[in-house]
């Protein structure tokens, strides 16, 4: 059950729209919405779901980058 934080970079003026769409992605918590970036935390039941989330972010219109910052996998069996 990894916990990951990401900074989602957004196109100018798009962060509110992007945040709305991010809120629909499973396992995602939005913690901070800035002018051109959004901080999200993912808490996924399986390690495989983590990357699925990450890929979903990049497909959202208005998202220009997605950078992982922190990844804790202390209870994950590889």
């Amino acid at each position: 059950m990894p916990i990951t934080s990401l900074i989602i970079g957004t196109a100018p003026g798009e962060s509110a729209n992007v945040a709305q769409q991010l809120a629909d992605v499973p396992y995602v918590t939005i913690t901070d919405v800035k002018e051109d970036s959004i901080i999200v935390i993912t808490d996924t039941p399986q390690s495989e779901d983590d990357k699925t989330c990450w890929d979903a972010f990049t497909g959202i219109p208005g998202v220009v980058s997605s950078d992982v910052i922190y990844h804790n996998f202390e209870d994950v069996e590889q």
């Binding site: 900074i7 990357k51 950078d67 992982v68 804790n72 996998f73």
Partner: protein
Amino acid sequence: MLNTRREFLKQVARASALAALSSQMGLVYAMDPPLEQDGLSWQKAPCRFCGTGCGTMVGTKNGRVMAVQGDLQNPVNKGLLCAKGYHAGAALYGRDRLTTPLMRKGNKQVPISWDEAIDAIAKQIAKDPSNFSIYGSGQWTIPEGYTAMKFIKGGLGNNHIDPNARLCMASAVVGFITTFGVDEPSGCYDDLDECDTVITWGNNWAEMHPVLFSRVMNRRNNGEKINYIDLATRQTRSTKAADHYMEFVPQTDLAIANCICYQLLEKGTYDKDFVAKHVRFKDNEKKDLSIEEYKAFLAEYNIENTSKLSGLSKEQLKYLGDIFGDKNKKVLSLWCMGMNQHTRGTWINNLVYNVHLLSGKFGKPGSTPFSLTGQPSACGTCREVGTLAHALPGGRVVKNAEHRKQVEDVWQCKPGSINAKPGFHTISMFEAFAKGDLSSMWVQVTNPAQSIPNLHKNLANSDKRFLVVSDVYPTVTTRLANIVLPSALWVEKNGVVGNSERRTQQWFKMVDPPGDARDDVWQMLAVAHKLYEMGFAGMKNRNGKFLFHMEDENGKEIKSWDWNVYKTINTDKILFDEYRQLTLLKHKDIAPYDEYVKTRGMRWPVTEQNGRWVETKRRFVANDDPYVAEGRDIDIYMAKAGDKKAIAWARPYNAPPEVPDAKFPFWLCTGRVIEHWHTGTMTGRVKELKRAMPHAYVELHPEDARELGITDGDMVKIKSRRGSIILPAWVLGRGKPAKGSVFVPFFDETKLINEVTLDAYCPMSKEPDYKKCAVLVEKA
């Protein structure tokens, strides 16, 4: 309790992201809550994977890596990591880690003890030391590569050592040396923060160097205007961010670069002062040319001719000429495998330098050519230590008697120990192994049975030779081996590496390797000492002591070959500080080991100034590089002619050795994907990455797919004159190749595209071209 801890970890995760965000804005805030409060022990380590050299913080508990986060204090990535980076910790814990030495007995590899393995390897080497070879890696740490080089060049007196870096950056090396007289770039990552125009020459940096890509895109997101030109043969994720996509016919980058130079001279927009002070011209026969003669050579690369050859429009070519001709533009050129894996890889490196030298866009903040590197220590280990068939540490070469003597003196070898004859470079090494001219080979930290081109030819008979493979997981190469040695991985050992921007970074061991896996350095030391015990002359230094003699502060010998002793000492520090003595000759000075412990790395030359160790941001540039002579703005101080000038070479367009024809009508280009590191042996064990990109595929242009009756997921046969494979099609996937070409990644050991690729190589750098050969494409 579980919920409490998970909530706490989420707070840490959020705090990390907030701190990273502020770090990108030039501010560094302390994290709240601080990392240490999550119950993990946190230490720095550069990422295990690509040549970017991102800093990570690794959280461990109970002898296991539990978490990874981007290192906020590391100026390379400022807290960011890519998908591979944050899974670097998970890559240690695949279920099938190699944990005990194995020896082939009949058709099986059976467990043996370390003593048996070391004994068998030493005896084999002693039988035929001059025909033993080492095939290493740009993923070797600096101490690992240094040990391997000293073992074979100092101990065995042969030079048959080459790294897989030959396959990825040898053309960059020869390009640097022929133009500037010395290897490695003037620029650095700070140029990403200061450029206003980026041109990538055949480089998908959004996937291959994603943190550097983000660094520029974040500037854009903050409202800065940055013009990005993607000059390529295939549309990629990078293309999506480009202002201009310019698709050229493979190999015609040579003509395009010449065309830009032609326009600069024809229009008079070149930087006359810079050229007069810092540039000389030469033809392919090394004869000096006047600028007029050089211009006459370029005449055939006018816009009209180049447009016909390259497929770029006249407007696109003119646009490129105007960009470089604009004195106010700060242009950063970036490239990696697209230019280096090229049968004229050295020439295209020279030609991009020509463009920047003529335009005066060199050595200025944000305006310079910058060669990206693929592997974490291709620069630090292969290029600086010099683990190449012709090289010695610090830019020395085996052919030079004075260089050999300098190295023999530091190594305390008997005079004449180092052979003056260069050894086999990578492709010739595998050809010699196939023919039996080499009797044995030790492979460390790489997987040639998947990565060497034209596998049928170059791996023939390898199962009949004596092959030792050190690795962390079973691979297609370990399956061929007589002896398999289980190795420690990343933070299971100490390490020092050097990245693309001349930055040397250090880390300490944090967890034990699994089972009986052991460090690559120890493996080499143990075999060297076994040879010494057997009376092998080369393993005795000029004082009769072990070649790798080490002493503690009391002058007592350290038994580094004894694992129980080795694991209690830091041999990296001893080896690194010995190697450091050899870095001064060509001004590649590095600091003492202990200085790197304190920092997130330093860019060489690192010199002691007023009691402080100071790095060099931009090399050859006044007020930064301490070796620039007083009164000069730019000083190409290693110019071979001693005139302090870079050479602009008149290099013509040269057609590739194999082009599509009626029988094999498509271009094949191979490469990497963001999820996997090289041959996928580590990233393939990370479930998240494996699931995200489970197998290789062939990417087709939609029109080609339609004409061939191929749709997504259909099985497609790719056939060349050398071999064939069957892969699923991906038509509207991540990338879009040019019409008439296909792309296949090489990470998948079940679909070996290198059975198809050509092993033609650049005659100067000996680097093979994986980016173009002719294939037939048909529905399977």
